[in-house]
């Protein structure tokens, strides 16, 4: 069985977010790009599944939608251990566009398990996985925190309110994963980094797909109001501030 891991190229989580002057686009000057942390967990689990030969995973492929600038992120995935990479040459306009491109790649190979992170750490849309399964017309399971294989049989653990749910699903399917799916993300070893340059990274043209949403404006959160300290025994002042300044009472 082959596993396809969908990778989103996102700004490092410590990036100081800035927008263009008219607040309609993200200013990516000086930004360091990384594998979306949830996608990285999906990749880690895919590697774990492949390493246990009893699972019969023959190959782990990573795919991303974007211009040539996303290739370093794909090569990082190759350095971590993926066998090959595919870049769909297009601008990742919105979730629908990305899902359509991923579906084109996923549908053209014999992938039994297609994994996505539950969201990307930049736009946090949580939409691509569901759309992808719909376009492919295969089942999808979301919020996966555990995934085991027994031959073609896949058992999934989901975190639900107050407990866990175990479900089985026939392959092929789209698995949308969250924290808990794998141990800590792996550090790319020197050997992996050296091998990454020799592994295939295929660039495929984008298929026709609509971008259904358009960003009108970004806004930064309001800066936090200054903190006021009140003596512990001065309840009267505290109540007064809550009533008159914070206006929450």
């Amino acid at each position: 069985m082959r596993i396809l891991v969908c990778i989103s190229n996102v700004p490092d989580t410590t990036t100081k977010v800035k927008f263009s002057a008219d607040n309609t686009s993200f200013d990516d000057g000086g930004v360091q790009w990384i594998i979306n942390p949830w996608d990285e967990l999906a990749l880690t689990r895919a590697m774990e599944l492949k390493e246990d030969t009893s699972n019969g995973v023959s190959r782990v492929t990573v795919v991303s939608v974007g211009p040539a600038s996303v290739e370093p992120t794909l090569r990082k995935a190759l350095a971590i251990g993926a066998d090959d990479a595919i870049r769909v040459d297009g601008e990742a306009g919105d979730a629908h566009y990305v899902a359509a491109q991923l579906a084109s790649v996923a549908g053209s190979g014999d992938f039994g398990v297609i994994l996505c992170g539950i969201e990307s750490s930049d736009y946090n849309g949580s939409a691509v996985g569901g759309m992808l399964s719909e376009i492919l017309d295969v089942p999808s399971v979301s919020a996966i925190s555990g995934l085991t294989m027994n031959g073609e049989e896949v058992t999934i653990t989901r975190d639900i309110d107050g407990g866990k749910e175990e479900v089985s699903v026939p392959a092929p399917f789209v698995g949308v994963v969250q924290k808990g799916i794998a141990k800590e993300p792996r550090i790319a070893a020197m050997r992996g980094i050296m091998m990454a340059r020799k592994k295939p990274l295929q660039v495929v043209p984008a298929v026709d797909a609509e971008t259904l949403t358009e960003t009108q404006e970004f806004a930064m959160p309001e800066p936090k109001a200054p903190c006021k300290m009140v003596e512990a025994d001065n309840v009267k002042e505290l109540v007064g501030l809550l009533q008159n300044e914070a206006k929450v009472l």
């Binding site: 090569r75 990082k76 790319a188 070893a189 020197m190 980094i193």
Partner: protein
């Protein structure tokens, strides 16, 4: 590579360097950056979470961290592929050393193992010795240490009294003596030990395994900083070392020791950059949280000055260290291509760059001391609390001015190397100094500044070099062979040389950056260069005058005074505003971002 194109050590004093001949961090390729990310990820996931346990020297912890580094391949970055390494360039080695340099005591253990612990065998070992030890040192199966210093032989390393005597059957050397300040001593499996055979005047080197009978390890030293790194005194009592464990030839030990130290000094420069950037991050993040007088302290000019100066000195170190790294990479390629023995030829390249190595060691370690010291100051009272990481960084920083040759020894060695190259005709010091004196005689006031920002900076740097050349010549003429005893003068001249090298490195980086990114993108970097060159000129003027008034008289005194005054004259810079702009960028990003 054609020999004429190869930059030689110390050449910067007598020639202009082209920006094409320097490497700047902006040129790091994708693979090098990925290696850097691996180093960073390793620190964040394996080292920083256990920083306190490392400092408490928890049994087995440091060794296990080195073993994990080995599993990731980090111990074999520059080791050739035939010995289980990855054969990366010296620049890549320096970049990984920079990132890992932020790792406090772990960085010391790592540097010791991959540098002085491994390289003597890699570079001077015979094929059997390399095959036996290097693959295991590259993977972390074995950990290395280097035993040179003795209770009575520190800076004067060749005065060591550890003895090696050939056994009657000719199969062993029997080693007796004591070594101290041995990093990784608590757990190293393999040690390069320097000793004198019989009544030799110079050292020889030997490879010793930890389990050889007669090696006694003292308890861990209690240290001011780098508390987590293992530092032991080691005694050798009738230790029988097989004759095949001699490293290199008899009497070659001192050369091995010095060449390894040249390399270690440049690498120390890279390590320091990592530590300094971490201390700057801590400083600005604290300044962006701490309020006094109802205002974040990062908004105060006095704090901005400190933050900006931390950045400028770190940036300047970076410019110089990577410049030297490229010169070394080119020299290594040249010398390796020239002969069959890759190891020895690599070290030959390091030997040629003794001037740059000493300059980097001194400047980088003192830059870090400034950064760490002002980091504590920015933290105020909290900086004095052991709760804060800056306190640890401050204590850890101090050793850098002492190990790998004290800064005092390095200052002396630096001028000595320059003068020797001059005497051998490698560098036309005296000829160019003579021309500078002639130029001064004809001068009527300071030269008018050249048109254009870069042209002006080039002119300043060229003039500052003339001051250095004049000092070298006049001091040599005055003292001749006794100059070696004039340590204050040598130290002053050395400081001038270091400032020249760093100032020129900053300008060269700017030239290359602007050609890559354009002027608009590099404005703040021009501020850094403006401040650094302006300050360097003032520092050189002070050092040069101190030297001049120490020995010169008559016409030489007059010419030196005139030369110093004219050649260190630079246009005024609004350093307050320049520093504020640099600090504002740092404050905005809340981390080192240059």
């Amino acid at each position: 590579m054609e020999e004429k194109k190869l930059i030689t050590g110390g050449e910067f004093l007598v020639k202009e360097t082209s920006p094409a001949d320097v490497f700047i961090p902006e040129e790091l390729d994708e693979e090098q950056r990925m290696i850097g990310e691996t180093c960073k990820d390793f620190l964040e996931t394996e080292v920083f979470p256990v920083a306190d346990r490392i400092d408490a020297q928890e049994e087995g912890l440091m060794r296990s961290l080195l073993e994990k580094s080995g599993e990731l391949g980090l111990l074999g970055i520059t080791i050739p592929e035939e010995y289980e390494g990855f054969g990366q360039s010296f620049i890549t080695n320096m970049y990984s050393s920079e990132i890992l340099g932020a790792g406090y005591s772990y960085a010391v253990a790592y540097s010791c193992h991959t540098g002085i612990g491994t390289l003597p065998i890699l570079y001077y070992g015979n094929e059997e010795q390399r095959a036996k030890y290097i693959p295991k040192l590259a993977t972390g199966e074995l950990i290395g240490a280097y035993c040179l210093t003795e209770p009575g032989a520190g800076s004067d390393a060749n005065s060591g009294t550890t003895k090696a005597v050939l056994s009657e059957d000719g199969k062993h050397y029997v080693i007796n003596g004591a070594k101290m300040w041995i990093t990784n001593g608590g757990f190293a499996d393999v040690m390069t030990v320097f000793a004198k055979i019989d009544n030799d005047r110079v050292l020889s080197a030997f490879i010793l395994d930890r389990d050889f009978e007669g090696i006694i390890f003292n308890p861990e030293e209690k240290k001011m900083g780098i508390k987590g790194s293992s530092t032991r005194q080691i005694f050798f009592n009738d230790v029988k070392v097989p004759v095949e464990n001699m490293l290199g030839k008899r009497g070659e030990g001192f050369r091995i020791a010095l060449n390894i130290l040249h390399m270690g000094r440049i690498k120390l420069g890279a390590n320091v950059i990592g530590s300094a950037k971490k201390a700057i991050d801590q400083s600005v993040q604290y300044a962006n949280e701490r309020k006094q007088f109802n205002c974040l302290i990062s908004q105060f000019g006095a704090i901005k000055y400190k933050l900006a100066e931390q950045v400028i000195r770190t940036f300047a170190t970076e410019c110089s260290v990577y410049r030297a790294s490229k010169a070394l990479d080119d020299a290594i390629a040249y010398y390796v291509a020239k002969g069959d023995d890759k190891g020895r030829n690599t070290m030959e390249a390091f030997n040629h760059f003794a001037v740059e190595a000493a300059a980097m060691k001194v400047f980088a370690s003192e830059a870090l001391d400034y950064v760490a010291d002002e980091g504590v100051q920015i933290h105020g009272g909290m900086g004095f609390s052991a709760e804060m990481m800056i306190e640890k960084g401050y204590r850890d920083s101090r050793i850098n001015r002492i190990f790998e040759g004290t800064n005092e020894i390095n200052r002396l060695l630096l001028v000595d190397s320059v003068l020797k190259k001059g005497a051998r005709g490698v560098l036309p010091i005296m000829e160019l100094a003579g021309e500078a004196f002639e130029e001064v005689k004809k001068m009527n006031g300071a030269p008018a500044p050249a048109e254009g920002w870069f042209e002006e900076k080039d002119q300043y740097v060229a003039n500052l070099k003339k001051v250095v050349l004049m000092l070298l010549k006049s001091a040599s003429d005055k003292f001749n062979r006794t100059l070696v005893q004039e340590q204050e003068i040598l130290s002053n001249i050395s400081d001038c040389i270091i400032q020249v090298y760093v100032a020129e490195s900053v300008v060269l980086r700017l030239k290359k950056m602007e050609s890559m990114k354009g002027e608009e993108e590099t404005k703040l970097y021009r501020d850094m260069a403006d401040v650094f060159v302006y300050d360097a000129a003032a520092r050189i003027a002070k050092f040069a005058r101190d030297t001049t008034y120490s020995f010169a008289n008559g016409e030489v005194l007059d010419l030196l005074e005139k030369g110093i005054s004219n050649f260190t004259s630079v246009a005024g810079v609004n350093v307050k505003e320049a520093r504020r702009r640099i600090a504002d960028q740092l404050i905005e990003e809340n981390k080192y971002c240059f």
